[in-house]
Symmetry: C2
């Protein structure tokens, strides 16, 4: 018997959001939101998540999208700067706390988001999809043959760490390597650069308006960054031959001039036969995508769910 409802959870650095999702229509029937707060040690967060799950939908499958680098399909968090966790067996801890009644799936938050767009949003009906979200950092998710690509250690989709420079001046990235696209276009790096070059607290959206109005500094910045992003996206599309590229996140949803420039460059950076059938679209579901996607992932039969405690 397949479930009619599931609980989708988005565990970020600031907020714990959760929803009871009706799976046929992907409707959010009940919604919960609270600050992650302090302390944020694993036991405290596990207890918080478990309380929400028990209240929203007793016994329903539970899917969690977490702002973390995972290291397996059992929900082990290798690293989450947001939660300040390292090597935390989050999936096992939560499974032990919830008990056998709750089938449990833990995935990366961006993977949950793109799965939500696949089920009910901008990539509905598409079997091969690439999602790229430029917010504070850059995350991605890949769907191939209609299935989420999780990778061997559940950390597929890390398009933010695509190297776009490899000379001595390549920008250092928080991941410890150099030249990652995130270190050029990721929101936190971009804000720092804007502050450094203008002496103001401008946002990427401000730069976008300036560039659209012909401001030389803003235009030059976008002319530098658009090719880097278009190379990143074009190379991935050439490899995957996906039918849809979904763009989202706080930066790309507010920078239409940058997005237009990126698309224009992509015609030259994407292998012709893969550029032809591609449609590039904006994400549709906003903050709900991760909740809907996590709920659906939880309810889908998949190869490696979190083992029972």
């Amino acid at each position: 018997m397949s479930a009619q409802h599931a609980v989708g959870i988005d565990l970020g650095g600031s907020n714990l959001r959760a929803a009871r999702v009706e799976l046929t229509s992907s409707t959010i029937e009940q919604h919960h939101r609270e600050p992650v707060g302090e302390p944020r040690d694993p036991q405290t967060i596990v207890a918080k998540v478990a309380r929400v799950v028990e209240r929203l939908s007793p016994g329903a499958p539970v899917g969690i999208g977490i702002a973390a680098m995972l290291s397996d399909r059992e929900g082990t968090v290798a690293n989450s700067p947001h939660l300040r966790w390292r090597d935390v067996p989050f999936g096992r801890l939560l499974a032990a706390r919830l008990g056998d009644r709750y089938p449990l799936t833990v995935t990366n938050d961006v993977n949950a988001i793109i799965w939500g767009e696949h089920v009910a949003g901008a990539a509905r009906g598409c079997r091969d999809v690439l999602g790229v979200y430029v917010g504070t950092g850059i995350g991605g998710g890949v769907i191939a043959n209609g299935a989420l690509v999780e990778g061997v250690t559940n950390c597929a989709g890390e398009i933010g760490h695509t190297k776009v420079r490899w000379d001595r001046e390549a920008a250092p990235c928080e991941c410890g390597q150099r030249g990652c696209i995130e270190a050029y276009v990721g929101g936190s790096y971009l804000l720092a650069r804007i502050a450094r070059e203008t002496g103001t607290a401008g946002t990427p959206a401000d730069v976008d308006r300036l560039a659209a109005a012909g401001d030389p500094w803003a235009s030059a910045l976008w002319a530098e960054l658009a090719p880097l992003l278009s190379i990143t996206l074009g190379n991935a599309v050439s490899l995957l031959n996906c039918e849809r590229l979904v763009l989202g996140g706080g930066v790309l949803s507010r920078t239409p001039a940058l997005v237009a420039l990126v698309k224009q460059h992509m015609a030259e950076t994407t292998n012709g036969p893969s550029w032809g059938p591609l449609s590039v679209v904006q994400a549709e579901l906003g903050d709900d995508a991760g909740l809907v996607g996590a709920a659906h992932l939880a309810a889908t039969t998949r190869p490696s769910p979190v083992p029972r405690p």
Copy 2:
């Protein structure tokens, strides 16, 4: 009832090779090889292929790996410089010629090869695989969640057209774009460069021996090209989080010093959490890989086989 045998075909620019493959053991029971020859118009080739199929295994599923850029899952060839075909409905022509008895699958030759390595070679037992073959050109194949990634128009895996330079001096590629890794490391480009810089008809294998012996020119060439290839591979592995990277083809199977250098760079160009679990191996099945892979693809239930005529 699933088939016990299938016919695997490798249709290249020089040779038409075919085999009757026993599917449980992946054993090649009968083998056929003939030159493609002239003329090579579609009707002549279709007749040639059909004759071989009818002789090898009447009524068995037929899988064809073709050295061509396909544009759908029905075996339409968008472009094959080797066969000098453009927009040829090869799958439909062959299906019409063979008739209903023969389930038919047409795939890119490199995709058939990596599927062969997955079923019976260097990627046996691996659910997430990237295969990269550097020969005359550069081809690739992706397996995710245990399934071949064909893409929306059956041209996934085109890692040879990954852009590694995008300045004004980026090398022109035969695909019509610039800066593709193939235009730097692909065998035909590499041979031309070696001839240009040394005035001799040296091979990549010669350069590799010279580099290993400390020759300054050869060492400098490898030091220039290894980072480009390692960026290409590392970015793809970071996106896919595959467990195995299979390297093959005429260039990479004869340049151990280059491969060692590429692996060394990959530790810096691959996202850490995806580098850890990755094993980089050489292809195992040689010329048989494409035959075995095509036969297995033909016998596997897949979403979009060539429709019956």
